[in-house]
Symmetry: C2
Subunit: 184 residues, 2 copies
C-alpha cells in the first residue's frame, strides 16, 4: 500500500517542491520525496521519536546521492506544531500508526493527528496535496481513521477535494486519503 | 468522476487490447476506449437500450477517425449474457445507473449487475481490469452499490485486488471500484 501511495504521489510532487513528511518514521517516504524533489527542493521531516529522526537521517545520507539531496530540515517534535516551522508547502504526507520496528506503544493519537492535519491544511498551497495513510487494521488505527474521516467529510468541496482509496477485499489494509487544495 | 475513472484506466488499457463496455450508454466510455485501443483493438459494446446502441454508434462514427477505429461489435441485450458473446478481454467497464438524457426509469438492476460482474470476472484475462462506476446518489444507486460491494468483498485477495475510490466530502459522487485480476 505504501507503493500505491507513492504511485499516487508521483503525479503531484515535482522537482523543486517544498514538501513535509509529517511522520518520517523509518525514512521510507522521506527518501522517496528527496529523490523526487531533488537539490532545488525543500524537505521538512517531523517525528516525535528521536529514533525515527536518526533512521531517516541515516537513510537519506546512505541511500541518496549527496549532490541530489534537497535542502532538508529535521524537527523532533509533534507534527501538530507544523505551522511554527513551515510557512507553505505543496505536499504534506502522514503515515499514521507506530514506527515500524520501534516501540509499538508509541503511536500517533487522534487528537494530535487531527490538529496536525488542520495545520497542514493551513500551510498548503493551492493545488497542493495532503496524503494520509491510515492503518485501520492496527490497534487504535480504526479510531484514528474515524477521527480523520470525521474532519475531512466536513471540508467544503470548493476548498478541497478529498479522495479516499481502499482495498475492499483486504479490510485490514491501510486506507489512503488524499486532500487536494482547489485553486483560488 | 468519469474523467477520474478514465484517468485510472489509462495505465491499464493499451493499444490492441480487447475490451468490453458493458454499459455503453451515451458512448462516452466507448469513445475513450476506441481511441485508446486503436485499429488493432477489439471493442464489444453492450446496452439493454436500442437508443444507447444508436448513440454510441453515432459517437464512434462522428467523433473518431474511421481509420483509427477498432474492430467493434454492438450487442443490444443484457450484459449478464457477456460470456455468450465474449471469450476473453483484458478490460471491462460498467457505468451503472440510467442512460443520461434517457428514460430514468430504465436503470441497471442489482441482480443483473451482479450476474454481469461475475460474467466479466469469468472472461477477464490475468492482469486484466474490471472498472465499476456506481452512482450511489441516484435513486436505487446505493442498493446497487451495496450489492456489488457484498460480492467483491468476498473475492479471495489471491485472485483479485479490489480497489475502491470515492470522494469523501461529496457523499453523492459516484464510487469507482477497480478489480485487478492477479497473474497466475
Amino acid at each position: 500500500m505504501t507503493s500505491v501511495a507513492q504511485r499516487a504521489w508521483h503525479q503531484f510532487v515535482k522537482e523543486g517542491d517544498t514538501v513535509v513528511d509529517a511522520t518520517c518514521g523509518n525514512g521510507n517516504d522521506s527518501k522517496w520525496l528527496a529523490e523526487r524533489i531533488g537539490p532545488n527542493g525543500n524537505l521538512v521531516a517531523f517525528d516525535i521519536q528521536e529514533d525515527a529522526i536518526r533512521s531517516t537521517s541515516a537513510v537519506l545520507e546512505d541511500e541518496v546521492d549527496p549532490e541530489l539531496l534537497p535542502n532538508t530540515r529535521f524537527i523532533r517534535g509533534c507534527h501538530s506544531t507544523m505551522q511554527e516551522h513551515v510557512q507553505a508547502a505543496s505536499f504534506v504526507c502522514f503515515n499514521l500508526g507506530f514506527l515500524p520496528g520501534g516501540d509499538r506503544t508509541i503511536v500517533s493519537q487522534p487528537t494530535t493527528t487531527v490538529a496536525a492535519l488542520k495545520a497542514a491544511m493551513a500551510i498548503l498551497e493551492p493545488r497542493g496535496i495532503i496524503s494520509v495513510l491510515a492503518y485501520v487494521g492496527h490497534p487504535g488505527g480504526m479510531e484514528e481513521y474515524k477521527a480523520v474521516q470525521e474532519v475531512v467529510m466536513q471540508i467544503h468541496p470548493q476548498d478541497f477535494t478529498v479522495l479516499e482509496q481502499r482495498i475492499l477485499n483486504r479490510p485490514n489494509s491501510p486506507v489512503l486519503i488524499l486532500l487536494w487544495r482547489r485553486p483560488g
